[in-house]
């Protein structure tokens, strides 16, 4: 598919140059992090003088890093379950009902994604301190769930809007109970979106820094906050190693979401 109009050679060269630059610009930082995580030098030099796995080793043997990694996982799992169930239920409720003020409810559900995160962080810090949700796992789980719900609502709503509603109507007309209809018809159809929402909420939780920074203590500290407190002090490639893990995690999430979407599409086509 060609361009809608032929531009001069100079312009198309300029465009190509900008695109090449953009690709390098977007990808370069990641490659640097990946490479440096295997560096043998104790400081951040690029290109690294040699290869070693010591920073990954450090990640699992240094108690500060290891504990923060465990904390992150302890927060991430309940967060993704909570956000996915609450978000999916809300998305279904919104898509299959009619009431006044639906737009407002939708806006409210999406607002944690829209309000600047620093405002959420400071507000949550003030209130959670008073509620005893400061410096413990429960506080982090609740905060991350709030931030993840919009992503689940958005992906699942999008899927509910495009699936063939006649299939549900048929099941209901033929006497299936609403619950059975959801379990046997709707849920299998929206499953890729639910899964993708869940993976999104995992990534959101694993990646969250600003709110966590306000409500965590050195004892209960997720890995991003640990990174943050290290990043400005003595920086060694351990940060690059954890960054690589974070990236692989996101990539895995992206790939499994794509695979699930493709599989359901194939089944529906057949």
């Amino acid at each position: 598919m060609g361009a809608p109009f032929s531009s001069g050679r100079m312009w198309s060269r300029l465009r190509l140059a900008i695109c090449t630059f953009a690709v390098i610009y977007l990808v370069a930082p990641l490659i640097v992090v990946l490479v440096i995580s295997f560096s043998s030098a104790p400081f951040l030099t690029f290109p690294p003088p040699g290869f070693s796995m010591q920073w990954y080793n450090n990640l699992f043997t240094n108690p500060a890093w290891f504990n923060s990694l465990i904390t992150s996982i302890k927060v991430l799992i309940p967060t993704s379950i909570l956000a996915t169930s609450l978000g999916t239920a809300a998305a279904y409720g919104l898509a299959r009902s009619n009431f006044i003020g639906k737009q407002i409810v939708m806006g409210l559900l999406l607002s944690p994604m829209i309000v600047p995160v620093i405002i959420v962080a400071v507000g949550i810090f003030g209130v959670f301190r008073a509620l005893g949700l400061y410096g413990n796992l429960l506080g982090l789980i609740i905060a991350h769930t709030i931030l993840a719900i919009p992503y689940v609502v958005m992906t699942v709503s999008g899927s509910l809007a495009v699936i063939d509603k006649r299939l549900e109507d048929a099941a209901l007309t033929l006497g299936a109970s609403p619950l059975r209809c959801f379990r046997r018809i709707t849920f299998p159809l929206i499953f890729p979106a639910v899964l993708s929402g869940m993976l999104f909420s995992m990534v959101v939780s694993f990646d969250e820094l600003v709110v966590s920074m306000f409500i965590s203590t050195p004892v209960v500290r997720p890995v991003t906050v640990q990174m943050w407190s290290n990043i400005r002090g003595s920086v060694d490639p351990t940060i690059a190693a954890i960054a690589t893990l974070l990236f692989c995690f996101s990539l895995l999430a992206l790939l499994s979401e794509r695979a699930a979407a493709r599989k359901v599409k194939k089944e529906v086509d057949e």
């Binding site: 598919m1 610009y25 507000g123 003030g126 209130v127 109507d169 007309t173």
Partner: protein, 280 residues
Amino acid sequence: MSSVAKSPMSRNAWLIVPAIVVILCFFFYPVSWLLIDSFSRPKWGIQNYEAVLGRLVYLKVLLNTFTISAGTTFWCAVIGYPVAYTMAHCSKRARRLLIFVVLIPFWTSLLVRTFAWMVLLQKTGLINQTLLTLGVITEPVALIYNRIGVYIGMVQVLLPFLIFPLFSVMLRIDRNYSFAAATLGAPPVRNFFRIYLPLTLPGLVSGGTLVFVSSLGYYITPALLGGPADLMIAQLIERQISTSGNWGMAGALAVLLLVATAICLGVVHRIIGVKTAWGR
């Protein structure tokens, strides 16, 4: 049909309740509480707003926030427009590759990317080394802890927000307009500025506004890549709390940030709808 569908219809609305309750208690309440603080702490009145708008230090931060956001939006548009154009009008394979590349930042941690720039931009970093070897510069340039560093980091983070809305608008453009103009003798440059650019303007405006809005509240990137002169409003809010415990001022700054955000998003919503714009 109606008798079958109606009863589950109204019952379905109850499914929204748990999520709404959680959001109201742990999001809406804390945020409103902070906003009310701006009027109530240390005493009722508008003294916090007078302080924000009356003191030069604070005005400087507001100006910084605006300038950095506008600059970031500008550079995102300059780089993003050609990329979106290429994405919309190239072969299927090239498009898939470009979409993947643009999506990568979406899926990688902000902290990780900012950290990578810290490595690349430092005095002994790759960029300085390359420029020195090539003989472009004779001594290392300061690329970090100043405005340049903030721009490099923020544009990279926010570029996808501009590219995707623009790309989706470009895909839907009826190419016959440009063909007609070309057939009628319009030279390519004129064709672009009179036909193509106006048609893609909604995408450009909504993408640009999204970038602008997101920049306004940015915290991590400017905090790590910027210098003392690049303080933005989010960092100021954080400092009000962590160093002086000044909730009233933090609240007033939060109100300003929120109002600016709401106005900008209102503009995007008028053009294409917030949901489409934010869809990643």
